[in-house]
């Protein structure tokens, strides 16, 4: 067992983990932060995307030990401080960017990483950036639309209605 300490959503947390403990399991089982979803557990689907030191990563394909000392952000830390939805989350609601909702935590975290580096992406750039996020309901049009709207762009012409 190894002892790890990291900052998760602004709060310092620590725990004892095995070498093989995945970051996704540490978040869900040890910290009880179950908003980070495990869809495929094979690095394909992106439902488990979190930010580690500001970079989007798949938490099912990283060991908790590797995040020792890191600044971690998960979906639970995305809402505004008063508990209301942040701009991206609100856009997902407004534009029906989720159906069953299982992929949504990863979609929102990927979207946040994209908009941090590229505040006004084109539709093509959004689709390309979401390469590693799979929506099994196939609701991509509205997910893309929501992200475009969250970036403050006119989305009336985006994708098919």
């Amino acid at each position: 067992m190894a002892s790890v300490t990291m900052t998760v959503n602004g709060k310092s947390v620590s725990g004892d983990v095995e070498g093989r403990t995945l970051m996704s399991d540490f978040l869900r089982n040890d910290l009880r932060l179950t908003g980070t979803h495990i869809g495929c557990d094979t690095s394909q689907c992106g439902a488990c995307v979190i930010h580690v030191n500001g970079e989007a990563v798949k938490s099912c394909t990283m060991f908790a030990v590797e995040a020792d000392g890191a600044e971690v952000a998960t979906i639970e830390g995305q809402a505004n401080t008063d508990g209301s939805l942040n701009v991206i989350q609100q856009a997902f609601q407004d534009h029906h960017g989720l159906q069953c909702g299982f992929c949504t935590p990863g979609m929102v975290m990927s979207a946040a990483a994209l908009l941090k580096d590229n505040p006004k992406p084109t539709e093509g750039e959004v689709r390309e950036y979401l390469e590693g996020n799979i929506c099994r309901c196939t609701g991509y049009h509205n997910i893309v639309k929501a992200i475009m709207a969250a970036s403050g762009q006119d989305v009336s012409a985006v994708a098919a209605e």
Binding site: G19, T42, S43, E55, A56, M62, V65, E131
Partner: protein, 262 residues
């Protein structure tokens, strides 16, 4: 996964020492190794993480103008930091996997693994790169030795990769859409003293140089120079994604597109 310990050394010397244990294995970004461990296809007693080693991070320009990439540098960093110094390499790194994978996967990890469908082997072989390890320098032409086989010894660590910068280069990848690996990928680089063409994803022996195309392109650097050439299907990978004949055909098509994009 079987149980193992993880060490996180902060220097190359400490990593090499930790890897001297025969049951220890190096861990780069883990984007291949972690899925492998989940399938219980590997059983290391200790994983030695290389991503915390500062001297193996980052991109710089060497004394002879070559682009030097630290072995533990992730793909996203390579893509961003070589955009002006070596656009062909930047384009390749920026199209590996997906954004989250690029934030973890490392150049050293990719080259050490030498997956027959990985992108980086094409860049290293196509650039005539030098692979620097903790003990020696290995020319790319001597480094790749077949499917998942390299010149690396047990416990040897890729600390840096040096890419000579060509006059023009482009990597053209026919993406296998489910995995984002190359069904066939071709890296073409035009240097003052010749052209190099490296092909990944196609051969059962891993990355290789298409020397006939190199000779034709050295005489006439245009896609049309490839017209009379063909690639034998013998020895090409054949699987549910494409037959060996299809891959052989793609090698020529991708090479032509890469030349046209240079």
């Amino acid at each position: 996964m079987y149980a193992f310990d993880i060490e996180r050394p902060s220097t190359i010397a400490d990593a090499v020492k930790a890897l001297s244990d025969e049951d220890a294995q190096a861990l780069g970004g883990g984007q291949t190794l972690i899925p492998t461990l989940k399938q219980r296809l590997a059983m290391p007693a200790t994983l030695v993480s290389l991503t915390g080693i500062g001297e193996m991070q980052g991109v710089c320009i060497g004394d002879n103008g070559e682009v030097c990439v630290g072995g533990a540098t992730n793909h996203a960093t390579v893509a961003a930091e070589t955009a002006s110094s070596y656009p062909g390499l930047s384009g390749l790194a920026g199209n590996i996997g997906d954004p989250a994978v690029r934030n973890r996967g490392t150049v050293g990890g990719s080259l050490a693994n030498n997956d027959p469908s990985a992108c980086y082997p094409a860049a290293a072989l196509g650039s005539g790169a030098t692979i620097i390890t903790n003990t020696r320098q290995i020319a790319a032409d001597d480094y790749f030795q077949g499917l998942f086989e390299t010149a690396l010894d047990e416990g040897e660590v890729i600390t840096e990769v040096r890419f000579p910068v060509p006059e023009a280069a482009h990597y053209e990848k026919f993406v296998q859409p489910a995995s984002r690996f190359a069904l066939v990928g071709v890296f073409v680089a035009k240097y003052a003293d010749g052209v190099r063409v490296a092909v990944t994803g196609a051969s059962e022996n891993g990355v290789f140089r298409w020397t006939e195309a190199e000779a034709a392109l050295a005489a006439d650097f245009s896609a049309g120079a490839l017209d009379g050439l063909s690639v034998p299907a013998d020895g090409m990978i054949s699987d549910l994604h494409g037959s060996s004949e299809y891959r052989a055909h793609l090698v020529k098509v991708m090479t032509g597109r890469a030349v046209a994009a240079c």
